[in-house]
């Protein structure tokens, strides 16, 4: 690099053209305008440490994703509880008390009324627990244990909303055994 020392000195001696005095005035004006713009409340707001717009979009996207996740989870839970055999909807018309005016039942269903829409009982396990004698009985009884899941459904005809209750149940049945 020392080979070029002399050349570098010659280059440094060459002075670049100076800016015109007008440039200094123009920059001063521009800076004063910027100061005014920054100082005025209607001016451009001060820079924030992070971009609020991106943050807002990010939060909105996260909220939508969360909503989808919740809906998907509910749907999955609903599928798990899907019933193998669904009883047909109740053929009997919903019993709705007559209005105070004594008018007919049709069309008088309140929007808050839920009517039974179906009921199922799925037996998924049966266990024979053998013979036994009940208290004070001389006849033997066969003890059967049924494990079931019962589901009840109601529907609001006016709003279309439905309500479903499902629960496991266990039933023990004693069947008399007749010796022939």
């Amino acid at each position: 690099m020392n080979d070029f020392q002399e050349l570098e000195n010659e280059l440094r001696a060459l002075r670049p053209a100076r800016p015109s005095p007008v440039l200094l005035e123009r920059i001063e004006e521009a800076m004063v305008e910027n100061c005014r713009a920054d100082a005025s409340p209607a001016g451009q707001p001060a820079r924030l440490p992070y971009n609020w717009l991106s943050l807002g979009f990010g939060l909105a996207a996260a909220a939508v994703l969360l909503l989808f996740a919740v809906l998907s989870m509910e749907h999955r839970q609903g599928s798990d509880k899907e019933i193998a055999q669904v009883a047909p909807a109740s053929e009997t018309r919903p019993v709705v008390p007559a209005l105070s005016g004594g008018r007919g039942v049709d069309g008088s269903i309140s929007s808050n009324k839920f009517v039974p829409a179906g009921a199922t009982q799925v037996v998924y396990n049966t266990r024979n627990e053998g013979l036994q004698f009940a208290d004070g009985s001389r006849e033997p009884l066969r003890r059967l244990r049924y494990q079931t899941r019962q589901t009840w459904q109601w529907r609001n005809p006016s709003t279309g909303a439905s309500l479903r209750v499902s629960y496991p149940s266990e039933e023990v049945v004693l069947i008399p055994v007749s010796g022939q």
Partner: protein
């Protein structure tokens, strides 16, 4: 000159770096007036964003970015004016104030350098940036900046040797 934004006497700050900035901007413009527009925009932008003057690489990168935007706009303008100034001189040359024939020849030799070498030379000699700062301003590696500088000096030496 720690901080341009808080510098009460920014004029003295600009008077120090102004000629070098202008020379740097002059490489992309045909006229000194265009170069001054670029320097004004860059300096005010830099000042407003409250960067420290110590971050000189960013200041020169700002000048370069605005100059490149200017070129894009200027190309469109040049196409429109091409029919009017069909034989206009399209060379872009940095401006120097020379005192004798030797300096005039040196300035002419600098103007003949390839653009990438001249760019580094202008930042190194007349703006006193380090190779690290030059690399930051131009978006190149430090080694590339150093080698371009050496090539520029070698080319200058070669062109100034008596034939």
């Amino acid at each position: 000159m720690d901080n341009i934004a808080n510098h009460e006497n920014w004029k003295s700050c600009f008077s120090e770096i102004g000629p070098g900035l202008l020379l740097f901007a002059r490489q992309w413009t045909r006229s000194a007036a265009d170069a001054e527009d670029i320097v004004q925009e860059a300096f005010v932008k830099f000042w407003r964003r409250n960067h420290t003057i110590n971050n000189r690489a960013l200041l020169y990168a700002t000048v370069r970015s605005i100059a490149l935007d200017f070129i894009r706009r200027d190309k469109r303008r040049a196409r429109r004016e091409a029919t009017v100034f069909a034989h206009a001189d399209s060379t872009v040359e940095p401006q120097f104030e020379w005192e004798d024939e030797a300096q005039s020849a040196l300035a002419a030799a600098v103007n003949c350098l390839p653009h990438d070498q001249r760019e580094v030379l202008v930042l190194k000699i007349w703006n006193e940036l380090t190779f690290s700062e030059i690399a930051g301003a131009l978006g190149i590696s430090q080694n590339t900046a150093a080698s371009r500088y050496r090539y520029a000096l070698a080319n200058l030496k070669k062109s100034l040797q008596p034939q």
